[in-house]
Symmetry: C2
Subunit: 459 residues, 2 copies
């Protein structure tokens, strides 16, 4: 009878899963390969933030943490799109008070680790899993110089994009696996508060500098700084206006040349640009797909199952939602510390097979959204389409919820359904846009009439 | 100066590469994780065979082995297609004496290991590589209970579909990787010689029992037996006529039921069918794609770089051709035991980037050919198309070489070019087939006239 659940990785997903299982009476033990970042001050003064939205909050609610996190997060109700001339256009993400939240990754993780330990979850740091035998239900743990073999009843892999459990599963028969990198890298940069201690830009949104093949974004931090991220091709592509690859922008002159040309309005706001640019690494962007997520009494959750690119702001939301859905399956199957290993295997199998299409969908949505963010948000046709969609949403809220809203604000819609809906919506919008002649673009009555007729055909 | 080349895996590809490098003055050391199969009699009495064709022979010629292997191989000039009624139709692979050869895998490997050692290649058996650090140029070897770290200058991964070098490269930044399995498994079966010591079927061809969603094939062995392979879906698919999955065919009655229904003509020829069926495993069929094949002074070759399904008979041919092309690059770059590590890195980079598209192409060709073998060879339209193509090839040998011939008999055409040509040819043939009315199907003069007109438009 598996009364103890082992987890790999004390990141936000692992902690949340452990807390919710602990609340159901299970002993929960997490092995984390890193040191305790709460003690080490590993994140230092700099904030690394992420976007949290309704799917993430819905899952956090189960641990009673949603309100607390929402209160320290900074709401971003829309995009703030910077053009080359430095003027900024606001594009709302949703309606009314709908917003995504800029949240400190480390702060969120600390809170979840603290809450986990308060609930009686054991977290062992500096304990790296190097192999798992899913049939024997043993894993090999490396602690310092030593190795030990440890038996488990149930093992959850919440150990991120480079999951040790997944590497082990990869070597089992008929395991489908792919890892793929974008041709773009990213680099983190910094906009500090102003001399008077204020935000240097409007904090009420996610700033984007869309430049076609590349872009920069900036998210506000509670300390009134912004964390900026430049997404830029590793390799030069002169035919597409990328004269130098990210790895080739190596001296101050070249950095300033790029900034003057593309991000001029941020230059006065980034006093440490050159140092940041040279000191911070060029990191890569991986997408991982695999199947099955579960094997025997082991299961992957979060990035371990579906590492995705960050462009939909759904990475952690998807991971938290995995946890919510696993726990829902645990409850549905009436799994308790007295349940059999077989009942657990079946529960993990139900979860894994049901959830996998959502992992595929959110991975694809994230890839698609990169093109939207770096290119389309600056395209008048796209902006016009977004306005039409908002109009449709307002007039026909039951028939039309924009894809972004389905993904971000509508946790009751599984990702894979949202993705399918989005495909249908785009076909519909392409037709509508073709039906609107140039001289009617500002004729709201004419357009409303058209939408009223056409929406009838949209199922 | 890398005067020693290390290789992982003493299979045919590793041995051939080691021999050719040894002939160029390099010390060559192979680590093989298995025991010496020549001593262990690992392959026992049963033959496991593979198809060798012109690409493989061209590479073997460099080691002076082509004629010897061709002489012990059994030529298969075409397919022998068995229908449900037991009648057999011959479909030639090429023209005149063109044939692929059924060759014993173990016999070929023994010969190559012997020749390698005669040439001074060191082969260390029971030495398993468990990790590689391509930057430090070290690998960890496991021998019995012990582990040791070993430095290398150049490391070639010829260690097959589950390559240790590739697993190590997979964890390096921006390494593209995918492994994917067919929904079909395979099981090896046996047709012994007749009581009088003869072949139980015509040995002059590759026997196929195409049954739509599944098939059996049989290749002749020098001992006058046949090795049969059943390719069958793991899971039932009643909508497509697959009542039971391979894993569900578990008792004698079910085996006989399948055989009576689909492979009736072989029942009298397979006295050990039931034993073989129960004793031999249901094996799976992997396709591996990765990039880059080379990193620093390491490089993947053969199945390690591009494990493919067996349906084009190109697996080992592609691996041998990798070796031929690597050696061509070594010679072109004038690499000698006095060359620098950097010159080697550059050579491996040239080879890897140039050869990768061919690995992708042959993987796709092999997947496509499964549908051809199990389904299309029994389709009258397909058979008619093959006849038209043979006609075109004969009348316009410079303008039309069938795809199969380009892949199998034309090593001077890279796989990726053959693949592109094949795509164009299929479009052309689709149009031709649509242009031929039913009443002209047997009107050779009319058809020749049509082909003469149309081939002018085919570039």
């Amino acid at each position: 009878m598996p009364s103890t659940i082992h987890l790999l990785g004390a990141g936000p997903v692992g902690c949340l899963a452990a807390i919710l299982l602990r609340q159901r009476g299970f002993e929960t033990v997490i092995f984390e390969r890193r040191s305790d970042s709460r003690k080490a001050g590993a994140y230092g003064g700099r904030s690394i933030n992420l976007a949290l939205s309704d799917r993430g909050f819905t899952a956090l609610e189960a641990a009673g943490l949603a309100d607390e996190i929402r209160q320290v997060g900074l709401p971003m109700p829309g995009r703030l799109v910077h053009d080359l001339q430095g003027s900024v256009q606001f594009q709302p993400y949703g309606q009314g008070g709908q917003a995504i939240y800029s949240v400190s990754r480390s702060g969120l993780n600390y809170k979840l680790m603290d809450l986990a330990e308060q609930n009686g979850v054991q977290i062992h740091f500096d304990a790296r899993c190097v192999d798992v035998d899913h049939q024997a239900r043993t894993m090999i743990l490396e602690k310092g110089q030593g190795r030990e073999t440890l038996a488990f009843d149930v093992l959850l892999g919440t150990d991120g994009a480079f999951s040790a459990l997944r590497y082990a599963l990869q070597k089992t028969d008929r395991f489908e696996y792919s890892q793929s990198y974008l041709p773009h890298g990213y680099k983190e940069l910094h906009i500090p508060p102003t001399a008077s201690g204020d935000f240097a830009m409007d904090p009420n949104g996610l700033h984007i500098w869309p430049r076609g093949q590349f872009m920069m974004i900036a998210l506000p931090n509670p300390d009134r700084s912004f964390t900026c991220t430049l997404f830029y091709p590793f390799e030069a592509d002169p035919a597409r206006g990328v004269a130098l690859g990210l790895n080739e922008i190596q001296n101050d002159d070249l950095v300033l040349q790029v900034w003057n040309q593309y991000f001029g309005d941020t230059l006065p706001l980034m006093p440490t640009l050159l140092d940041d640019f040279h000191n911070n690494p060029n990191a890569s962007l991986i997408t991982v797909r695999c199947s099955p997520w579960n094997l025997g009494n082991t299961c992957l959750l979060g990035d371990a199952a579906h590492a995705i690119v960050p462009f939909y702001g759904q990475g952690l939301n998807a991971g938290f939602e995995d946890v919510r859905m696993l726990i829902a399956q645990v409850d549905e199957n009436a799994i308790t510390p007295q349940s059999s290993a077989e009942a657990w295997a079946e529960t993990l199998q139900h979860f894994g097979s049901k959830r996998k299409p959502d992992g595929d969908a959110v991975a694809q949505l994230a890839l698609d959204n990169f093109v939207e963010m770096r290119d389309k948000v600056a395209d008048p046709r796209f902006v016009f389409q977004k306005k039409l969609e908002a109009r449709l949403h307002q007039a026909y809220p039951d028939r039309w919820v924009p894809l972004y809203s389905q993904v971000t604000f509508q946790p009751q819609t599984p990702y894979h359904i949202a993705y399918q809906n989005g495909q249908e919506q785009q076909k519909f919008m392409n037709r509508i846009l073709d039906l609107i002649p140039v001289d009617k673009i500002n004729d709201e009555a004419w357009i409303d009439d058209l939408l009223r007729q056409e929406i009838q055909h949209f199922v």
